[in-house]
């Protein structure tokens, strides 16, 4: 191929973005600026706010089913007035509604909040700013990515209002429950809408992911070699790679599921008898096949959720400890190792499904290997803040909270990764506790850390610190109080997804504990509303940012104006001369990436 043509094409593209920028300030209507925006910063905010709406809805669902679990005998007639008869009867959440709530809570938080809301927001916001690009490689595809997500959101939301209710077979949507409309009311229209929403979501994440990869590889500014990139970008890059390679497998699995639901195939079905319908003709399929396909995405998915948080936490810890990140290359290496291992361990979710035990033992080995890169990262974070000159900004607190939660939740992962122990622990509250701490709450903490840290860049104002501290302390204490006791319940054998434990002799003893957990959950949820108030209030009324670089940070986003326009830098894109972590070097507090290496500078 002709090199010249490519180089010229690339130059032309750069010029175009450049030219775009200079001519951009006039004619921007409300629609092009806030709705169908192609500015990566605006798209990031759209992802963030849509994600927040979903977080509130998903959180509210958890409050509702925690009410059922904590107060199984109480009646709340006012709930019926709000939600209607399908959801609440005699003041109690109906069993059907309970399963719908659990399912939708899981789907929404895993995909819409912690995938789209987290990596959608921060990949969009940070990649161009931190690698020194005017925008994403393809701003148009970036916009499409958001609007596909938005459409998926609408479809998912509409499934809440259909007559038979939203899908209620668990967020993993295992067949046969998800494949047979006759199996339960929630498997009818609700499931069709669920599948459509998820298919749209896969397209959205694919469009986004391809863009992130192309931007990181191709659009780095002069001097920004791969090993000078902040760890945020590395993490977001691997996140995108994980998504691009694993979501298509889920997509295939869903297509087969759609055929099973609507066109009489038996990919996942065999030997089934449905009450009221009789024996089904389907033969030869395998429900475990779906689980394989689902978890081939599902496991990378938990790293899609976790890696962005890890990257942002690395950046925030280093900045606020005023110390270089410890073991930069080891951090990249362990991110890479996690990304690779993510694809090799999926069947550890399936130890008790009838998976071949020998195959299971290999999955145990591969699963336990994840402990190595995870431990490397944890020790590197700890050594980064060790004897640092720590500034306890809200972002920093949440970053430290992330490390704490990652350790607590990660250790129980070692238990669950053993197939023998998993026979006892599978589908108990131990699993709930494990993945909520390590994936759910930890990633939420990473997200909060990111929001508190980059809010000044997003809106040119600060969030209120007092509210932020209240938010942090209540949330971390609450997170542990909610999920720590669940470990004990799980060890005692209490299964997940049951509607009412008070009728079980073995689990009656946990009635008080369940009430305690539910109460804390409501308090923590209320505290998140405080954060929301802080967020929206501060967008308009927060203290204004007056310095270009409020955190004295090294990375490129702080070399832009306080409120950067489309194109990010008014003049030339700065050139990069060093890595992002020159804190406390040669007697200087920090040296931005744009500063050339001095003649007598020491090596890091």
């Amino acid at each position: 191929m002709s090199n010249e043509a490519v180089l010229h094409a690339h130059e032309a593209a750069v010029h175009q973005v450049h030219g775009d920028h200079h001519e951009h300030h006039h004619h921007e209507t409300f629609i092009t600026k806030y709705v169908f925006s192609m500015d990566h910063k605006m798209i990031a905010k759209q992802f963030l706010i849509t994600g927040m709406v979903w977080a509130v809805l998903g959180g509210l669902m958890s409050v509702l089913f925690r009410i059922q679990l904590g107060y199984p005998d109480a009646h709340f007639p006012w709930l019926q007035d709000i939600l209607g008869k399908w959801w609440v009867q005699d003041g109690r959440i109906t069993p059907q509604a309970y399963y719908a709530l659990v399912t939708t809570h899981g789907t929404v938080l895993v995909f819409f909040v912690l995938t789209a809301g987290l990596s959608g927001t921060f990949a969009n916001f940070l990649i161009p700013l931190q690698v020194g690009a005017r925008d994403m490689a393809s701003p148009f595809m970036n916009m499409l990515s958001y609007w596909f997500f938005f459409t998926a959101s609408l479809v998912m939301l509409s499934s809440m209002f259909v007559e038979t209710g939203p899908f209620s077979g668990g967020w993993t949507a295992y067949p046969p429950l998800s494949a047979l409309g006759d199996a339960s009311p929630g498997s009818k229209t609700g499931m069709d809408l669920w599948l459509i929403a998820m298919a749209l979501f896969v397209i959205s994440s694919l469009l986004g992911g391809l863009n992130y990869i192309a931007t990181v590889l191709n659009m780095r500014t002069k001097g920004m070699s791969m090993t000078r990139m902040p760890l945020t970008i590395w993490a977001l890059f691997f996140t995108a790679v994980l998504g691009v390679l694993s979501f298509p497998v889920l997509f295939s699995g869903f297509i087969l599921l759609i055929f099973d639901r609507n066109f009489g195939t038996s990919f996942y079905l065999s030997d089934i008898f449905v009450n009221g319908v009789g024996a089904l003709p389907n033969e030869g399929g395998s429900a475990i096949l779906y689980q394989h396909l689902f978890w081939f995405l599902g496991h990378p998915e938990v790293y899609i959720i976790l890696l962005p948080a890890m990257g942002m936490v690395s950046e925030i810890l280093s900045t606020n400890a005023r110390k270089p990140i410890f073991g930069y290359m080891a951090m990249i290496g362990s991110l890479f190792a996690i990304a690779v291992l993510a694809f090799l361990v999926w069947a550890h979710h399936m130890f008790v499904t009838g998976l071949n035990p020998f195959l299971g033992s290999i999955f145990v080995l591969l699963t336990l290997l994840i402990a190595v890169p995870s431990a490397i990262k944890v020790f590197n974070w700890l050594t980064t803040i060790w004897r640092g000159n720590i500034r306890f900004t809200p972002g920093m607190l949440f970053a430290i909270g992330f490390v704490s939660l990652f350790i607590s939740g990660g250790l129980t992962g070692i238990w669950l990764g053993n197939s023998a122990l998993d026979i006892h622990l599978h589908d108990t509250y131990f699993v709930i506790a494990h993945f909520h701490i390590v994936m759910g709450v930890a990633s939420m903490f990473g997200m909060f850390a990111g929001i508190y840290h980059w809010f000044p860049k997003m809106y040119g104002r600060y969030l209120n610190n007092t509210l932020a501290y209240i938010h942090f302390w209540v949330t971390i204490a609450g997170a542990y109080m909610i999920f720590w006791p669940m470990h004990y319940e799980g060890l005692a054998g209490m299964p997940r997804r049951y509607y009412d434990y008070s009728i079980w002799e073995s689990f009656k003893q946990f009635a008080d504990l369940n009430r305690f957990i539910s109460t804390i959950a409501i308090i923590v949820f209320a505290t998140q509303l405080l954060f929301l108030f802080n967020f929206f209030y501060s967008i308009f009324k927060g203290r204004k940012v007056t310095q270009q670089n409020p955190w004295n940070s090294n990375t490129l986003e702080w070399t832009t104006p306080i409120r950067p326009g489309h194109g990010n830098w008014p003049g030339e894109i700065p050139e990069v001369h060093r890595w992002a972590y020159d804190y406390g070097k040669d007697g200087r507090d920090f040296i931005p990436q744009t500063e050339p290496i001095g003649a007598d500078e020491s090596h890091h």
Binding site: M1, N3, V241, L245, D271, S286, I288, L289, H292, F296, F343, L344, A347, G354, L355, N356, L359, I362, F363
Partner: protein, 144 residues
Amino acid sequence: MEHTSQAAHLENHGEGKKEIWRVTIILSVLTVIELALGFWMMGIENPSTRTAIKGVIIILMLAKAFYIVGYFMHLKHEIRNMIMTIVVPLLLFVWFITAFLYDGNSFRHLRNTYDPFKKERSEMKVEKKAESNEAKPEMKKAVE
């Protein structure tokens, strides 16, 4: 690395069309061999010979894939690092395929062991249809 990529570009400019025709011929020959093997396999009953032929066909398939990706899609003439970003992730397929097929095989064993009724039924010949679908006495018990 610098050397090879440069060389590749130069070479490519020189060869161009000739290379396209060469690859076309290779692909056609490979396909013809595959088809020949397919025809040959029809007359063979020995299961291990059949498996061996299937293995050869799969290797030929991979060779075809190599020529399409390498030459038609031009990957071979890209910079080495780009080749790696595309080839290395494909290695994930190794474990993807191994684990899935191994477990598929395991389902069959499980079903045959714990569902004797089903196993028995799966060994019953469908008489009526077998006749109308051409008599096939030569296919008495082809084992998987």
